[in-house]
């Protein structure tokens, strides 16, 4: 594409140019001695979710003080859409490279950064001594950051989206050398902002190398390109995990799905859709893949009005894959709700800890691949008679307890409710719920049934042996 096309789009961008120098800023970050020697930012725009990989080479140039944390800066819009930030420290060289995961937390210094930029701090496992350098690998995921333009497309058009970011790394530190790569799914790139030096190779656009950027620099860029990957957004997901100590874990998942891409406008022609599947409805999708644990059984897939017959299940030794097809192909803006349920063997998930308590080890997040979950609720229904539940989740969630009732319940089952917004595939990590349970409660329900049947028979015997008539019948 000729470069003259690309500069036009920049005018529409919100101009956020941070040129404030480190000196003019009133309160400086504590480790102002830190400097980023080199930074590489790789933005993956191939899917509906934006993934950014940062490789930072950080040096402590302070005279005496050790550095305990490295700060990352995000714009307010980014923070709104930020699903997860993960950081690791790379050790060794080339093939012997190992990664040590590091904790990341929102920094309370947020207010001190200019223009409302938010800071996250990567807590180092060992203090960075003056003069030392380390390499940090940071991954962060942004959801809902691709804006379809045009916002409404017809069946035969493909979907174009905008992506906005900065050519240089937004950082509270001085950056000596920096490159940004943007990877797109196809060759069709309508336009991209030029901030020289800028080059394009196939599906990739490279910004940089830029050197000697002052802290908090920001050079807005805008990329307009084709992205026909399914924009599946789960607006609401309620996962209910019911534990039975008789040997089963039953999981029920209620999905509220939406195609989050450019809205479909005008006619839907089945003929076009059937006869020209490659061009017609390119951005629509008709199936989704869910990754379930191995040894899954009794899988069902239904919605409010009944069973949906279009699904395939492949059971493997490491994972099971469930391919589901909604009743109709989803075009931009179309909604669809459905329920998936399955059973799992208890021994794969329930363990006994050293103190005699039990804990269930489950996977957080959503089993559907490449989807964003706006609002996730996980309900862990413990067996009747469980006490002192205690969830352990590796990231911040909203937690509370409630009581739910199911078959033959008298006092109700303790239910742990976990809620989280903006969940992506990176959140599919194990979490645990510890609780106390006395196995004697397992017998409560069978005993109830046995006594009911016994009572019935006793009543029958009594009835047959008693004469209930008032007068003597002849």
């Amino acid at each position: 594409m000729p470069p003259s096309f690309q500069t036009l789009a920049t005018a529409t961008v919100l101009l956020l140019l941070f040129t404030a120098s480190a000196v003019s800023c009133a309160s400086l970050p504590p480790e102002d001695g830190i400097r980023i020697v080199s930074a590489e930012k790789r933005i993956d725009l191939t899917g509906p979710i934006v993934k950014v990989y940062l490789t930072l080479k950080v040096e402590n140039v302070a005279a005496a003080s050790d550095a305990y944390q490295v700060l990352l800066a995000f714009t307010p819009t980014e923070v709104q859409h930020l699903a997860i930030v993960k950081a690791t420290r790379a050790e060794g060289k080339r093939k012997k490279k190992t990664y040590v995961p590091l904790a990341v937390e929102a920094s309370d210094l947020a207010t001190s950064a200019p223009n409302g930029a938010n800071l996250y701090s990567v807590l180092l496992d060992a203090p960075l001594k003056p003069g030392e350098t380390i390499t940090l690998e940071v991954l962060y995921v942004l959801t809902h950051s691709l804006e379809p333009f045009p916002a409404e497309i017809s069946q035969s058009e493909s979907q174009l989206v905008y992506y906005r970011d900065s050519a240089v790394l937004l950082s509270p530190y001085h950056v000596l050398e920096q490159v940004t790569y943007i990877k797109m799914p196809s060759n069709r790139i309508e336009s991209f902002t030029r901030v020289d030096p800028t080059s394009r190779a196939g599906t990739e656009v490279k910004y940089g190398t830029y050197s000697n950027q002052a802290p908090n620099s920001y050079l807005p860029i805008l990329v307009h390109y084709e992205n026909n990957r399914p924009f599946a957004v789960v607006e609401e997901l309620v996962r209910k995990v019911e534990i039975s100590h008789w040997g089963n874990v039953q999981i029920t998942e209620h999905y509220k799905l939406r195609h989050g891409g450019a809205r479909h406008k005008g006619v839907f022609s089945r003929l076009e859709y059937q006869s020209r599947p490659s061009i017609s409805g390119a951005s629509s999708f008709k199936n989704l893949l869910a990754r379930l644990p191995p040894r899954v059984h009794s899988v069902y897939y239904r919605d409010e009005i009944g069973n949906i017959s279009t699904s395939h299940l492949r059971i493997g030794s490491h994972k099971s894959e469930l391919e589901i097809e909604p009743r109709y192909p989803l075009f931009g803006g179309w909604h669809c709700t459905f329920t998936i349920g399955y059973g799992l063997p208890l021994q794969d998930f329930l363990f006994e800890s050293d103190d005699g308590r039990r804990f269930i080890n489950l996977t957080f997040g959503c089993p559907l691949l490449d989807t964003v979950v706006d609002d996730l609720t996980i309900k862990v229904v413990l067996p009747e008679g469980s006490k002192n539940p205690q969830p352990i989740v590796p990231f911040a969630t909203e937690k509370h307890l409630e009581t739910s009732y199911s078959y033959l319940d008298v006092v109700g089952r303790t239910t742990v409710v976990l809620k989280k917004n903006n969940v992506v595939g990176e959140h599919n990590v194990p979490f645990q719920v510890h609780y106390e349970f006395n196995p004697i409660f397992m017998l409560a329900e069978p005993m109830m049934l046995i006594s009911a049947v016994l009572l019935f028979f006793v009543a029958c015997i009594a009835y047959l042996h008693m004469d209930l008539s008032i007068g003597k019948s002849s």
């Binding site: 089945r270 009944g306 047959l464």
Partner: protein, 720 residues
């Protein structure tokens, strides 16, 4: 003998030995329990083969109302004004339905919830019909015992458990009024016969409550309120009048009437409409009869009584006729409804009420469907009548009358086979039971006699032996052969019933199944695909226009407002839709604008070969539309009296809205190898108009097999 073997057992075990009476009770209870389970289990084919879902059309309305009832409570339900159907008129649901079914299901659901069984209301609805069918077997047993003996009762229970005529309306998922109504019908009849037999006020009261339940459940209660007085009349005429009858009928009628009037849909019709007058007439007649009886007892003079009788009868008949004439003339007594007429005169509906005639289940019954639904019962029925006449009693007269009248109605309308099924089963059970009993007595007396003679020789046994000796030669063998024949027939019946249930009556009709090329099952789930699309992707207040058949399903599954639905209470409204469908697009657009229609839904089977689609129903739309709006004329759509869709079709047909919507862009599609594009697989022709342009509508959605097509009505153009 069996008891001799038991003598060797130790004493404590011997005390556990059952007496003959207890053995019989145990056998009877276990047989009944097995029948009960069988009746329930045989109806679960559809759940096993498809899923736990509601079938057909009307059940979807029942399901929707039950859902409403269980969510909002009875008082809300009773006062429910449904604005989602019959737009813009709406429907007063509480006052225009029989709430028995919904209340029953909601109560069952609440009961199960109270027992802390966390079942969904849908499961309760799906299994309501099989549950009540199982209960019906118990009633059939009691009824059979009442009119004949407990053996006949058991056979009746077994027969009714699997009779296809009843199964057709009570498989799991066919959540319709008939499901509980047949139970209520048989229960009412049983309790009434029991009341007549015993003369007990308690049984009569029970039958009044049975009647109340029936009235609350189904419009077919009219059958009870006409059959029972007819029966009373027959007893009077045949000189079988008794105090018992007087108590039973009066209590049942008066209380039943008062209770029935509590149902809003019936209300004062019970004392004002023509269909209920027979019961009232018989009620008064019974009073006169009683009075005359009393006078006769007082007078003790035949001549005096005769003249008194003459005067009273003249007075009563005059007063009665006068009351009827004045009532009818002043409009106090409403005349018979069309539906009632069409029952008495099978040709009536065809000429006067096309909306009733257009429903396939209202057609007269073919012989084959009698055979299909009754199988050997069709032959046992006359035999049973013979046995009934041989041992005439108040109870057998009742069952004979029930059998004969219901058989007539079953001949008039296919769906009324259902009403005849219990009677046919009971009468056939009498035949089967009596025959088998006779045969087994023959065999047993013969086989016993050598044993008896070798043992003791008492006078009575010798007499028995003498009786056997008098019998015909080869009687024993003939009896065994006949018995085997009977068992063969009965087992054929069981096989036939199972086969019919699994093949014919267990498909939910909302999901279509076909055999694929490789023999595998192909599922066409297009209806639900379309309804779910409507539910999720149209504005919540969208109004959908479709032919009335799909109205209930659209409101229940699509959760959208419809113009007309299966409750065909307003003929004009349906005719308006029929008119829109059969007009040119611009005329139809005006009608649709006046009805605020946003989407139009048509059902089209040309791609899959699904024959009950809208093109095949189209002539009924023309007829119903033309019945109210003379602009629509049936001959305009026909060519020489023939209904065609190919090139030879009439121009009006080729350009009417229904044709355009069904065949839009169909001309570009190749449906079958070796056939030109636009080949309609139902009609077996290439369509006549392949270049269809839509001006006021646009295709909004078409399901994967093209069975349901939804069009969006474009907003009016800006004035230029």
């Amino acid at each position: 003998m069996a008891s001799t073997a038991l003598d060797f057992l130790p004493a404590p075990l011997r005390s556990l030995r059952l007496k003959t009476k207890q053995q019989e009770l145990l056998l009877r209870v276990s047989a009944l329990a097995l029948i009960y389970v069988l009746a329930f289990a045989v109806r679960l084919f559809s759940v096993l083969r498809y899923e736990s879902m509601i079938h057909e059309f009307d059940p979807y309305f029942n399901y929707r109302t039950t859902l409403f009832l269980s969510e909002n409570g009875f008082s809300e339900f009773w006062n429910w004004f449904d604005s989602e159907s019959w737009y813009p008129l709406g429907r007063v649901v509480g006052g225009t339905l029989f709430p028995g079914l919904m209340v029953t299901a909601a109560l069952l659901h609440r009961l199960l919830r109270a027992l802390s069984l966390a079942v969904h209301i849908r499961e309760v609805c799906v299994l309501t019909a099989p549950f009540f069918a199982a209960n019906t077997t118990l009633v059939a047993y009691a009824f059979g015992r009442e009119i004949w003996d407990s053996g006949a009762g058991l056979v009746a229970a077994a027969l009714i458990a699997i009779v296809p005529g009843y199964i057709s309306r009570s498989v799991a998922g066919s959540y319709d009024n008939e499901g509980v109504a047949i139970f209520a019908l048989l229960l009412t009849f049983y309790l009434f016969v029991r009341a007549v037999n015993t003369g007990s006020l308690a049984w009569a009261l029970a039958s009044a409550f049975g009647y109340f339940y029936m009235v609350s459940a189904w419009g077919g209660y009219v059958f009870i309120i006409n059959l029972v007085p007819l029966y009373v009349l027959v007893l009077l005429v045949t000189g079988r009048y008794s105090q018992r009858l007087y108590v039973a009928y009066n209590c049942m009628y008066v209380l039943g009437m008062l209770l029935a009037m509590q149902i809003r849909f019936v209300g004062f019709q019970h004392v004002q409409s023509g269909e209920h007058m027979a019961a009232m007439g018989v009620f008064f007649l019974l009073q006169v009869f009683f009075f005359l009886d009393w006078v006769k007892y007082l007078l003790n003079d035949a001549r005096l009584f005769k003249s008194f009788l003459r005067i009273t009868l003249t007075c009563v008949i005059t007063v009665g006729t006068l009351a009827l004439v004045i009532g009818t003339a002043s409009g106090y007594i409403s005349p018979w409804t069309g539906r009632f007429y069409s029952l008495l005169d099978p040709t009536y509906a065809k000429d006067h009420i096309p909306i009733i005639a257009s429903v396939s289940e209202h057609q007269p019954t073919a012989w084959s469907s009698f055979m299909f639904d009754f199988h050997i019962l069709l032959f046992l029925f006359p035999a049973g009548l013979y046995f009934c006449f041989k041992r005439l009693s108040d109870a057998t007269i009742f069952i004979v009358m029930y059998g004969l009248t219901s058989m007539y109605f079953a001949g008039v309308m296919v769906r009324l086979i259902l009403v005849a099924a219990p009677a046919v089963c009971l009468i056939s059970a009498i035949a089967a039971s009596a025959t088998i009993k006779n045969l087994t007595t023959l065999i047993r007396t013969k086989s016993k006699s050598p044993q008896v003679t070798s043992g003791k020789t008492t006078g009575s046994k010798a007499a028995a032996k003498g009786a056997v000796d008098q019998s015909l030669p080869f009687q024993h063998n003939a009896a065994i052969a006949l018995l085997l024949g009977a068992f063969y027939l009965l087992s054929r019946y069981a096989i036939h019933c199972t086969w019919v249930t699994s093949e014919a009556y267990s498909s939910p009709s909302i999901v279509l199944a076909a055999r694929g090329h490789n023999g595998g099952r192909v599922i066409f789930d297009d209806y639900r695909e379309a309804y779910y699309w409507l539910r999720q992707n149209t504005p919540p207040d969208a109004k959908i226009m479709s032919w009335w058949d799909y109205g209930y399903q659209i409101t229940a599954m699509g959760n959208r407002t419809v113009i007309v639905d299966n409750n065909t209470w307003n003929n004009t409204h349906i005719a308006t839709v029929g008119r829109a469908m059969s007009s040119y697009e611009d005329e139809a657009y005006e009608i649709m604008q006046s009805l605020d229609v946003n989407y139009v839904l048509v059902v089209f089977g040309g791609v899959t070969g699904y024959s009950s689609d809208d093109i095949n129903k189209f002539l009924w739309m023309v007829r119903i539309g033309g019945g109210v709006f003379p602009v629509i004329k049936e001959p305009d759509y026909l060519v020489n009296g023939e209904y065609r869709v190919d090139k030879g079709a009439s121009p009006k047909m080729l350009n009417c809205l229904m044709y355009k919507l069904c065949y839009y862009r169909f001309g570009e599609l190749t449906t079958e190898y070796g056939k030109p594009p636009g080949y309609d697989r139902v009609r077996g022709v290439e369509i006549g108009n392949k270049d269809i342009k839509l001006e006021y509508l646009e295709e909004a959605y078409t399901t994967s097999n093209w069975i349901v097509r939804i069009y969006k009505v474009k907003p009016p153009k800006n004035r230029s």
